[in-house]
Amino acid sequence: MLIAAVVSLTLLGTVFGLLLGVAARYLKVEGNPLVAELEQLLPGSQCGQCGFPGCSGAAQALADGSASLALCPPGGRAVMQALANKLGIEADLSGVEDKGPMIAEIREEICIGCTRCFKVCPTDAIMGAAQQIHVVFREACTACGKCEAVCPTESVKLQPIPATLQSWYWNKPQAGEAA
């Protein structure tokens, strides 16, 4: 009796599994191509700051129209503008950029060289080895914040990027606003 049950269930499982496998191949639904295109525009660091599971999840939500254009903090205004262009929506950039561009910084005096941040960095922007002080490559850091979350000594912190002569520019004039 027991054997009959085991055999029949195994058979059923195998048959349905095969059916599903065949169906997945022949009745495959093509994904929304827009999602792939949107994902291409996102940073690809899978940091999850948008609240979606990685950049593909965010792209899906953007394609559905259920997410705001300003969902990607590491991408900043450039990504927002690119997304707006792709989706054909007007992006209101004036309200964004409240935090300004950020960058991860390691306080060397309390870095214990645990390599946790080094392992999670999605863009390989952290250099380090066990028992060695870690450093951040400024050009590669997207300020995704993953390192900040895993640091056991709070040695990694996101800091605003200081303005330099190369990056500074005039603020928007307030004068003539009424015009």
């Binding site: 940073p43 450039a78 999605p122 863009t123 002569l165 004039p173 004068a175 015009a179």
Partner: protein, 492 residues
């Protein structure tokens, strides 16, 4: 010579009489000099000296980095006392990496290479000398001159234009250098012309400088250099505008003068080139006009690069009355500053202390679309439309109207009856677009990094799995072998 018309332009009050009759005087040697590493367009120079090093006048202290950069030399002899930040001659007032030099009072030159017959040098040698001397465009744009020579030699220059326009009000440093050092300038011009094999050489000088025109004409006698008097109008001394007036050709949007076979250099740059090649003296000083209604004795000074502006103001007798605004450069395109510790750099043509009556401080009122700015724009843009787009955060719209071709001359702001700070809008928009461009480039770069990392992780995972499979296979093979051996043993 036939001159061509220039669209637009304005006629601000010249105010050049304040300092035009003042001979160039050398400023006494300052105690400390602050020499910024970034005094030119391009990458900052890298210091080649350390704190405590003794340097001689003219010695290289920071070398050019990368394709677009310029070397920096010790303005006097002394000791390097700091390598660090100092306030930049920039409206932001941000710090900039700076070499601080304490002078030993001896002002002793290091070795200089004297060339007896500079015109016998090969063109590329002239460019190399100019690069080694750290010469940049002294008209204000501070583009490395050697690079300009090399680019022009490659593309073939028909006309070399020497810019003696000096259209900015108040400034008289080019006027004075042409009056007092015309012979040297002419030799410098001939060197530049030789370096780029120019077929025609024109010196354009605004007709409000008759003495300079006469001096240059006299010095240019017997050479192929033609000195041309141009009508006085702002912005006649702008590169694209002077080309248009003298040749009738227009530099294409987004293009360079070399695209139409023209090369433009400032007359003061020609002087620096002559000094560098004939006497081996690098660019370590320049003529600066100190003027403005708030200055007691406006004058023209020969100043070492790195001298704090405060010393220039003190040497000019200090303030006649409190200055309402301090400006580096001319009043139309110059940069405001507040900290008088900022150093004079290669691009500093003037130090102005202006009274309240000399600056427009009227409140902006709404645009009435009178289009005065459109008539004033020397580039043929629509300032009012661009500003309207920028005000509503539509920077792309402003860019489509030609924002990138704006030369920020300030003519539109100057004539606007509603006092709308049009150029401020354009500077903001250009800066913001550039920031967006930079962040886009960074996005692309970091995306590549992220993809590379994902690929690498996947590869490592795959290799690990393969290695595990291999080990398992080896283990099984070994077990099978042992089993077979055991069976054989038993059977035996």
């Amino acid at each position: 010579m036939k001159l061509f018309d220039l669209k637009g332009g304005v006629h601000p009050e010249g105010k050049k009489d304040l300092s035009a009759e003042r001979h160039i005087r050398a400023l006494p040697l300052p105690k400390k000099l602050y020499v910024p590493l970034q005094q030119h367009i391009g990458a900052p120079a890298t210091p080649v000296v350390n704190v405590g090093d003794k340097v001689l006048k003219g010695q290289l202290i920071a070398s050019a980095q990368g394709a677009v950069s310029s070397s920096i030399h010790a303005p006097t002899s002394g000791t390097i006392v700091a390598l660090g930040d100092h306030v930049a001659p920039h409206p932001s007032g941000l710090p900039v990496p700076t070499i601080t030099l304490e002078s030993d009072g001896e002002d002793r030159w290091g070795m200089t290479k004297v060339v007896d017959d500079p015109l016998a040098l090969a063109p590329e040698d002239i460019a190399a000398h100019v690069a080694a001397a750290g010469i940049v465009g002294l008209g204000g744009a501070t583009f490395p001159s050697a690079l300009k020579l090399n680019l022009s030699r490659g593309s073939g220059v028909q006309t070399l234009i020497m810019n003696g326009g000096e259209c900015e009000p108040y400034l008289t440093c080019d006027d004075r250098i042409m009056r007092e050092r015309a012979v040297e300038i002419v030799e410098g011009i001939r060197l530049i012309a030789h370096a780029v094999a120019a077929k025609e050489v024109l010196v354009g000088i605004e007709d409000n400088k008759p003495e300079a025109i006469a001096a240059m004409q006299e010095a240019a006698q017997g050479t192929a250099i033609k000195v041309v008097a141009m009508p006085s109008m702002y912005p006649m001394g702008s590169e694209k505008q002077i080309i248009q007036v003298l040749t009738g050709k227009e530099v294409p949007a987004g293009g360079r003068p070399a695209d139409i076979g023209v090369l433009v250099h400032n007359v003061a740059t020609a002087f620096a080139v002559q000094q560098a090649i004939r006497y081996g003296k690098p660019l370590i000083s320049r003529i600066v006009t100190v003027s403005g209604g708030a200055i007691l004795q406006p004058c023209n000074l020969e100043v070492l690069i790195g001298t704090p502006v405060q010393e220039l103001i003190e040497f000019s007798g200090g303030y006649r009355q409190p200055a309402a605004r301090l400006v580096l450069g001319g009043p139309m395109m110059g940069q405001q500053f507040t900290n008088t510790n900022v150093p004079v750099v290669k691009g500093t043509s003037g130090v102005l202390a202006l009274m309240a009556s000399e600056i427009g401080q009227a409140e902006a009122s709404p645009c009435i679309r009178c289009s005065t700015c459109v008539r004033a724009c020397p580039v043929g843009l629509l300032p009012l439309e661009m500003a309207a787009h920028i005000r509503t955060a539509d920077l792309a719209g402003a860019a489509a109207l030609g924002l990138k071709d704006c030369i920020a001359c300030g003519s539109c702001s100057y004539v606007c009856p509603a006092h709308i700070p049009l150029v401020h809008f354009f500077n903001y928009a250009k800066g913001d677009l550039a920031a967006q461009e930079r962040s886009k480039l960074k996005q692309e770069a970091t995306k590549k990094l992220a993809d590379a990392r994902n690929e690498r992780l996947a590869r490592i995972e795959r290799e690990r799995a393969e290695a595990a499979a291999k080990r398992k296979a080896a283990r099984e093979a070994k077990a099978a072998k042992e089993a077979a051996a055991k069976a054989a043993e038993e059977a035996a």
